[in-house]
């Protein structure tokens, strides 16, 4: 299958990640942080090394602030439910994923979704500043939209948060591993990551980097320490990691982070070249609808949404699938973004390349999209 759905999960994992996962399964099958035998200690050391490795990639000094979760959604829930309470006001953008929107709705938080300008970051920053109220506690933004790829000016937003004494949280699902995100320089208090996307780890892995305390836990249980107490330990990361951690997945994270550290420039260049070429192709193809005024690598991560005029996005995606090409269609769990770009009724086709996509993959994608456009009247309902 020609895989262009890397925004959902990185389709092909590097051999080093596969090897690390295999090694953890076959040689390190012991519960870390629980027993005293050498196998358990080695497992604990691997977890610790992974925390250090992840911290280093994101300019974060607190190894103990690196928390492993099942996915980015769990990381985000941990932040929102751990830090905020009903009555608090939170500033978000009009491009947030349901991973942010649904917990906000469930918690009954007061929120303002500011308009993100696709062409002028200064405008966006002004909107954020103007949204601050006396009960505002946090600014929570996506690093980059999972639908249209628009990057947020994280450093400037971090400055606004700091100047106003607000928590600054980032959904790094799309940005992590591709964008330069520095916790310290950008004043980020909480960074949620989907390790299985830009960090090439197996699915079922997420990370939360917490520079400030998280008051409330959403899961309590065994942590392997201070078991005599019925209360959850206060120290991170164990406070937020009850139960057995996903050692095999974490081994994959470690290898994935090493892969990104070694090849980041090449990864970014490959993906950007593909998407720049594809955007240009779409712009010059008849009967294509695009939803961003331009594509440039400074303001966008390699994610593009489009439609073939007259066709529901699911049909286009299905036709691509018939030709062995994997993309994602629909609302991408981000209805707010689709409302913003006017595609709530029919969704979009999203193309998101990865490091392992080739020029040949792109050529086939372009050829197939062109064919669908030429024959679109056949498929219009």
């Amino acid at each position: 299958m020609i895989y262009f759905d890397n925004a959902a999960t990185s389709g092909k994992k590097p051999p080093s990640v596969i090897n690390a996962v295999n090694k953890a399964l076959t040689e390190l099958s012991a519960n870390p942080g629980r027993s005293g035998h050498n196998l358990s200690k080695r497992a604990s050391e691997l977890i610790y090394e992974t925390r250090k490795n992840v911290a280093e990639l994101f300019g974060f000094e607190k190894t103990e602030g690196v928390i492993f979760t099942n996915n980015c959604t769990q990381s985000i829930n941990t932040v929102l439910k751990g830090v905020l309470s009903k009555g608090d006001h939170i500033i978000i953008t009009d491009m947030e994923h349901n991973a942010v929107m649904r917990p906000i709705a469930k918690m009954g938080l007061d929120y303002t979704a500011v308009n993100v300008s696709l062409t002028d970051d200064e405008n966006t920053l002004l909107n954020i500043k103007n949204a601050i109220k006396p009960n505002t506690k946090m600014i929570f933004v996506t690093a980059a939209s999972n639908v249209i790829g628009k990057k947020m000016p994280l450093k400037d937003i971090g400055s606004i948060a700091k100047e106003n004494g607000l928590y600054f949280a980032v959904d790094g699902a799309q940005g992590g591993g591709v964008m330069d995100i520095d916790m310290e320089k950008f004043n980020i208090d909480y960074l949620s990551l989907a390790a299985h996307k830009g960090l090439y780890a197996p699915m079922g892995t997420g990370v939360l980097l917490a520079n400030k305390d998280i008051k409330n836990t959403i899961i309590e249980g065994g942590t392997g320490t201070n078991s005599i107490s019925l209360y959850q330990p206060e120290e991170l990361p164990e406070k937020l990691e009850s139960g057995t951690v996903n050692l095999v997945g974490i081994a994959g994270i470690n290898a994935g982070v090493n892969f990104v550290k070694k090849y980041k420039e090449k990864i970014v260049k490959t993906e950007e070249n593909i998407i720049t070429d594809f955007y240009s192709f779409l712009k010059n193809t008849e009967n294509i609808e695009l939803y961003t005024p331009s594509f440039d690598t400074k303001n966008y991560v390699p994610v593009i949404s489009f439609n073939v005029k007259g066709l529901n996005s699911q049909i286009t995606a299905s036709l691509l699938n018939d030709n062995n090409i994997a993309v994602r269609a629909g609302l991408h769990c981000a209805p707010m973004t689709h409302k913003k770009i006017g595609t709530l009724d029919f969704g979009t086709v999203r193309v998101s390349p990865g490091y392992f996509n080739t020029a040949n993959d792109l050529a086939l994608l372009k050829k197939t999209v062109k064919k669908i456009c030429e024959n679109r009247k056949k498929y219009i309902e």
Binding site: H37, S44, E64, T223, T225, S227, I228, E238
Partner: protein, 74 residues
């Protein structure tokens, strides 16, 4: 002889080991509670000597020491 410095969580025990080694003090981590009845299960970082220096280094690094047990050479 050795000193078992009770740290608590495995993450902080490994951090303590790293910091002590970085400061020239040989250290390793043991799954051992200095006082299981008081602290429950946990991890200690074990060193042979330089306990006062180790205590200072760990305090300066923000690592809380729960307890210390000294074991004389057998």
């Amino acid at each position: 002889m050795k000193y078992e410095i009770m740290i608590g969580t495995v993450t902080y025990a490994l951090k303590a080991k790293d910091i002590l080694r970085h400061n020239g003090i040989k250290a390793y981590v043991e799954r051992k509670s200095v006082n299981i009845g008081k602290y429950g299960c946990g991890y200690s970082v074990v060193i042979k000597d330089n306990i006062e220096t180790a205590k200072t280094i760990l305090a300066d690094s923000g690592i809380k020491i729960l307890d210390i047990k000294y074991e004389a050479a057998r």
